[in-house]
């Protein structure tokens, strides 16, 4: 066929329903939604008022959750899906896409969020897991899912379960970008390693990554995940966002970094511009001026391993 190139977002090998499916909730529709968010900043919000501020600052989407990660850390306790009234209030307040977090494995929270009409569900390690063995079977939903990953194998397992978008986990609620850096570098290095392998080595690579061979082969051939890869966890400044983009992220999630800082609206707008001009130090310098105090932050090293959110999920 003359006018046919390889599909860029839908791939038969990682799409159980195949590329001929029609209607809603197809892989192409789910993954395509994430493609449209690329180069953008998705901001954590707790209330409709925060959602409005985020939208006005240029957020490409907002993420509704009960408490921002920094507060989850400070207050402890079980952290769950946001109150449906709050999610509804946010949906009614902004016209950009609304995402919301569900607990790992909590398929009923995900069902509720789909019923409310959220545009993306984040099956998130930031909330207290509901199932320590299984993640949600995301193929069963019309709403698309984004999931966190610390390495390539984890990303591919989530995609196998139906995730239509991946974000590196970082360490949420810290304002310390070091783990996000580590996870982005790790995923990139593992993809590069697959690219350099001979075909007959990919079988063992799949075993080592604990991911399906077909998906591993696809990543080796294309040099990228079959879904969009964003970054998250600890991004607090325009320079943080730009660094993640230079490390290969296709967009940025900012959690506590905005509403735990002084002057959230200005900081949010600056992070949006730095994400667009991630490779232009002059612009990053300009937007970084006069933002006031960044969130105070916690060094990841000071958090005992059992309390690190990135350790949740497998």
């Amino acid at each position: 066929m003359s006018d046919q190139q390889n599909p860029t977002t839908a791939s038969p090998t990682s799409t159980p329903e195949g590329s001929v499916a029609s209607g809603t909730g197809t892989s192409r529709v789910k993954r395509g939604m994430a493609e449209m968010l690329k180069g953008g900043v998705i901001m954590d919000v707790v209330t409709p008022e925060q959602a409005k501020i985020a939208q006005d600052a240029g957020a490409v989407a907002v993420m509704a959750l009960e408490r921002v990660p920094a507060d989850i850390r400070a207050q402890g306790g079980v952290s769950r899906m946001s109150d449906p009234d709050m999610v509804q209030g946010i949906i009614d307040t902004v016209s950009i896409p609304v995402m919301a977090k569900a607990r790992i494995g909590h398929f009923v929270e995900a069902q509720v969020l789909q019923s409310l009409g959220v545009d993306y569900v984040d099956e998130s390690e930031v909330l207290t897991p509901a199932d320590y063995s299984n993640h949600i079977d995301k193929w069963r939903f019309t709403v698309p899912f984004v999931c966190g990953a610390t390495n390539l194998g984890e990303a591919l397992r989530r995609i196998t379960e139906g995730a239509a978008m991946i974000r590196s986990k970082g360490e949420a609620g810290t304002g310390d970008v070091s783990n996000a850096t580590m996870h982005m570098r790790k995923i990139r290095a593992e993809i590069n390693r697959l690219r350099s392998m001979a075909d007959d080595e990919l079988f063992v690579a799949a075993k080592e990554l604990q991911a399906p061979y077909e998906l591993v082969k696809e990543v080796a051939a294309n040099g990228k995940l079959p879904v969009v890869l964003f970054t998250a966890g600890g991004i607090a400044t325009p320079a943080d966002a730009a660094m993640m983009m230079q490390l290969g992220a296709e967009g940025v999630f900012v959690g506590s970094g905005i509403f735990k800082a002084g002057n959230p609206a200005q900081r949010a707008a600056a992070i949006v511009k730095a994400t667009t001009f991630y490779d232009d130090p002059d612009t990053i310098a300009e937007v970084s001026r006069g933002l006031g105090e960044a969130m105070v932050g916690i060094n990841v090293d000071d958090i005992p391993v059992p309390h690190r959110l990135a350790e949740r999920g497998w």
């Binding site: 003359s2 006018d3 046919q4 190139q5 390889n6 599909p7 860029t8 977002t9 839908a10 499916a21 029609s22 209607g23 809603t24 909730g25 197809t26 192409r28 529709v29 993954r31 395509g32 939604m33 493609e35 449209m36 968010l37 690329k38 180069g39 953008g40 939208q55 240029g58 957020a59 490409v60 989407a61 016209s95 950009i96 896409p97 789909q114 009409g117 959220v118 545009d119 993306y120 019309t142 709403v143 698309p144 707008a269 949006v272 511009k273 667009t276 001009f277």
Partner: protein
Amino acid sequence: MTRPTTLTPAGPGRVGPAADGEPVRIGVLAVQGDVREHAQALSALGVTWVRVRRPGELADLDGLILPGGESTVQDKLTRALGLRDPLRAAISDGLPVYGSCAGMIMLASTVLDGEADQQTLGGMDVTVRRNAFGRQVDSFETDLRFPALTEPERPIRAVFIRAPWIEAVGPGVEVLARVPERPQGSDAGVSPAAGRVVAARQGNLFATSFHPEVTGDLRVHRYFVDLVRAARERVA
């Protein structure tokens, strides 16, 4: 509606990069959105593409693509970066522009269900309703008739993602494609989406509600590249 006769010089048999004429340079607005997918489609057609984030990058372009993405963000950034006025000037000077989804909103003279402060670049005499098909759970794909493309009998696979539709068109606007009366996979019976205008052209401006860039079918991009070539030949 009359069909322009200059649109599809390319026959279905032409494969790979088009060899005729001078190389064509097409910009892709790269403030936010699925820039890469449009760029890949252009590369597959043998067209040189450039990223446009600054006013100076609009120089020496034969055409421009406004990609899919979030229209409110694209609007805010084009204003904040000083791109809005140069883009409007380029459009009124006759630069061929193709907008997909958010890009369609940017080209519309009137937008419904936008944000209170939302502005468009304008140029096309159309009224576009933002997020008209609904939220993401309503996003869908289906086959459309799009007879202006090469292989006119072969339907195009159209992917609609929180997509807009065209609600009203001015006299100079040619309707190129509509949602079928009963979209494939739709169990909703006669839906409000049935028959809606989802592709249109006015002079050198062209817009689709859907995202041909994510399907691998290059015919919509070829249609635009042919439009760009025809526009340049008229000038030359």
